[in-house]
Symmetry: C2
Subunit: 216 residues, 2 copies
Amino acid sequence: MIKAAQSGASSNFLQAYSIIEIADNDLRRELAKISGSDDYVNQTGVFYIFVADWYRQAQILQTENKDVKALQNMEALTVAIVDTTIAAQNMAIAAESMGLGICYIGGIRNDIDKVADLLDLPELTVPLFGLTIGMPKTRNEVKPRLPRANILSVNAYNRVTVSDLQAYNEQTSDYYANRSHHQKSTDWTQEMSNFLTKPRREDVAKFLKKQGFTLN
Amino acid sequence: MIKAAQSGASSNFLQAYSIIEIADNDLRRELAKISGSDDYVNQTGVFYIFVADWYRQAQILQTENKDVKALQNMEALTVAIVDTTIAAQNMAIAAESMGLGICYIGGIRNDIDKVADLLDLPELTVPLFGLTIGMPKTRNEVKPRLPRANILSVNAYNRVTVSDLQAYNEQTSDYYANRSHHQKSTDWTQEMSNFLTKPRREDVAKFLKKQGFTLN
């Protein structure tokens, strides 16, 4: 799993991420609780936390008495998030190719400051998400993705209007009504509207600043 | 390729990304020039731009007279970057599984404002990176990744010091000296130190704000 994660591309070979394996069950339960994902996190095989990470580079620069500005701006944060996600998705695909199941746990950002504390994270690191890997008891139906015309364009961005999403709403309405678990009467735009009624995790920016990112 | 990209996980099924295929050769050359990646971008099979994208959700919220605050903060931007990267890496793996080669082109962020203009990107969208896919003429050696001990920890973050990186420096020094192309006398910490001497792409944050992200 780790080798698969590390085999992904990395911007300028920076490898700006770390992986923390959560082997301690008490710690796992605490992270599960923060995430609101008790079942997913506690009843799985392994649980990894993926950390966007400039700490190694900060050590290198500080040893040479250089400042760490290059690690702090929005470009640097973006690079680290992308590097980390490439590594995680490589691991996810490796797991799935072996018949295992995975679940991303973005819920660790529900209390990102606490998670960083629990994992003893230093400056210029961000606990981005968890990834569970285990033997799936069942296999869910595949959720229908956005129609290609709503997500792919050629040469210039295609502005999708709500009426363009009509066909997808019919498709997802049918999916939600008839799937084998958690059936409900809704469609994609309704789900989006409900979910995005108010901003989520408003302390993330504050946490990032505390970690040394300037967000500029 | 598009189906593989769309098959990845997506935070709360938000699917906060779009893909733009660059089919026009003049446009491709212009993007290649901005990226400083002429050879990679112009001599490949297809070239996609991956866009972190809240525009669809903005349309849904605005149609219901809701404000778009939930799409603007650092959490929302993080979700979109992660969703976009999962999709891209899924596409990359699908391509590689068929014997094709890929290259991420982060260089589009060299002039991110211009790229957004060329692609007619609306508010709440970010051109994150390009991805080239083609038939590789040759296959490079695999670059040695950080030793597992430098990237993986258990239960709590393992603070890596520069002296911990000694073994990796020996390994990468050997790699850079002996690889089949572009041999050079360097090692990983030296590469990092040189590359990170000053902040890169300092206009990214300004661009994000222009697009409607509050970075708070």
